[in-house]
């Protein structure tokens, strides 16, 4: 299925040029994969401690989950204007300072994704209506703005940590 679609895209590209090709390629130019993992400390045979990531198994309140999103360019052209949006999962608290993403500008929202800003810019109105700095646990959405073009075949990775409330 994947191959036949790619063939079609390639054919269309060669026949009609870029404009119609991008319309056709909507779902397929980039593949986005999300995983959830936990980090556990293991002691090797040499006695040294190391951190190992495994899929989420025993998930109890307090467990810190690492969410990683991988995006890969499947077409033969560079892809630009890449913006990744990820709501903080339900029943979870974003862990301060945990968002990562090479070549990305990372923004957060505290209003369900209506507005975004850098961590230090975000405020929440207290009971008296006065703005105060927002807490990491109050973040509702995370946005990564990929500042480069993603070359054909290349992939990027962004992610964050959130603890189960």
């Amino acid at each position: 299925m994947q191959i036949s679609r790619l063939l079609l895209i390639t054919t269309l590209l060669s026949m009609l040029g870029g404009f119609s090709a991008t319309v056709q390629a909507a779902g397929d130019a980039i593949k986005v994969t999300s995983i959830a993992q936990v980090e556990t400390e293991v002691i090797g045979k040499d006695g040294k401690k190391s951190l190992v990531r495994t899929p989420v198994e025993k998930a109890i309140p307090g467990t810190e989950v690492i969410y990683t999103t991988t995006f890969q360019n499947l077409i033969k052209k560079p892809v630009g204007d890449i913006v990744i949006n990820n709501p903080v999962p339900n029943a979870s608290e974003y862990k301060a300072g945990s968002a990562f993403g090479k070549d990305c500008d990372i923004l957060f929202s505290v209003d369900g994704g209506k507005t975004f800003g850098h961590a230090e810019e975000l405020t929440i109105k207290d009971e008296g209506g006065k703005p105060r700095p927002a807490l990491a646990k109050e973040y509702t959405n995370i946005r990564w703005i990929y500042k480069k073009q993603l070359a054909p075949g290349k992939s990027g990775e962004v992610g964050f940590r959130a603890a189960i409330k």
Partner: protein, 376 residues
């Protein structure tokens, strides 16, 4: 929360200074109750992009999801942080503990009281270390009516049927102090609470092996004074410290009146029993309760309890009131109910027994309890 996390919050989000840091840190402490088990947590990312000068396209990731498991966690603490002050020979002395459900689901709790092993008590921290005599007749009761104090005859449940996530309940160990104990000696006792299935109180076991599709049971408790970590149990010490008070109870027959008006022990003769309560030495006997079972082959004569308060200082509520008695008081007749607020009853607090509460009595103190019974 790790210290590194705190630092990060401060350095990232804060300019004005440390006071704002504290503001940030405090509300972050604790998801003690937690998300209930069975909750599905799902994550999905959406990506927008464009190719060349083309329009914006959208790609959505797979949704990754998992189910929140049952976290079993609890904490037991001794409430006062200091030993219960008791008199020599005191009965029904109470130590108070708190059991907190730190799991994410309602949980039942089985309760067990025990004497600490060793002197100093194994694993104990001051003041619950010195362990040089043994309290006797240990019993454990949950604070069923939730008023925070032990009510004999009311708080009779020996387990907590169900406790909501993040909720706590008081638990009491009730014990007797032997007459052989000496002033300054301490007996360390432990309360162990075990998380069990609510209501049925059936044992809980961890889901073994790898993750299952449903809700797994995960033990997350720490180690208490006599239990290991991750065993669904938690234990804490409390203690009884014998002060200089010596509680002496002397029971005598004050009079016998037979149907003929003489003093012959025969059926239908009325016996007046007298209990002299004598506190000597120095110090306070906390929550002093006198319980006297009715002698065999006798029948209690209704409303026959009487108390004569002669001396002593009393606090906390009791049959001799609150305050210092400097001159002997006249006898006061008491009712038989435990609900009439006179701190004396028959067959309510304890079955077929006379119970009189004197509260926290400071030595020297003296009072006399009398009651009547008919020979069968």
């Amino acid at each position: 929360m790790h210290p590194a996390e705190i630092k990060k919050i401060c350095s990232r989000a804060i300019n004005p200074g440390i006071s704002v840091c504290l503001l940030l840190i405090l509300p972050q402490i604790g998801w003690a109750a937690g998300t209930p088990s069975g909750t599905s947590i799902s994550n999905s990312a959406t990506l927008t992009y464009s190719v060349g000068a083309g329009p914006t396209n959208t790609a959505t990731s797979n949704a990754v999801s998992f189910i929140v498991d049952k976290k079993v966690n609890l904490l037991v603490t001794e409430v006062s942080g200091s030993p219960t002050s008791v008199g020599i020979g005191q009965t029904g002395a109470v130590t108070t503990f708190s059991v907190i459900n730190l799991g994410n689901d309602p949980q039942g709790f089985a309760l067990a009281a025990a004497l600490a092993a060793g002197n100093p008590a194994s694993g104990g921290t001051p003041p619950f270390t010195t362990n040089d005599f043994s309290a006797t007749g240990l019993q454990v009761f949950a604070d069923s009516n939730g008023n925070g104090v032990y009510d004999a005859g009311v708080d009779t449940a020996t387990s907590i049927p169900t406790l909501a996530a993040d909720a706590s309940q008081k638990v009491f160990i009730v014990a007797d102090i032997p007459g052989t104990a000496a002033a300054g000696q301490q007996s360390v006792v432990s309360l162990t609470a075990t998380a069990v299935v609510p209501i049925t109180l059936a044992p809980l076991s961890q889901t073994p092996g790898v993750d299952t599709p449903g809700v797994d049971v995960v033990f997350a408790d720490g180690a208490g004074v006599t239990d290991a970590a991750l065993d669904a149990k938690y234990s804490a010490y409390g203690a009884y410290l014998v002060n200089g008070v010596n509680v002496t109870l002397t029971k005598t027959v004050a009079s016998i009146v037979d149907p003929n008006g003489t003093a012959v022990v025969m059926p239908k003769a009325v016996i007046t029993y007298q209990i002299d309560v004598d506190l000597s030495g120095s110090g306070t006997a906390d929550n002093l309760v006198i319980t006297d079972p009715l002698p065999a082959n006798t029948t209690y004569l209704a409303n026959s309890i009487s108390i004569t308060c002669i001396s002593g200082t009393y606090a906390g509520g009791g049959a001799c009131g609150v305050g210092t008695i400097s001159a002997p008081q006249p006898p006061v007749s008491k009712g038989d109910l435990d609900t009439d607020g006179d701190y004396a009853d028959f067959n309510f607090t304890s079955a077929n027994a006379v119970t009189v509460t004197l509260g926290n009595a400071t030595s020297p103190a003296k009072s006399i309890i009398t009651f009547k019974a008919t020979i069968n």
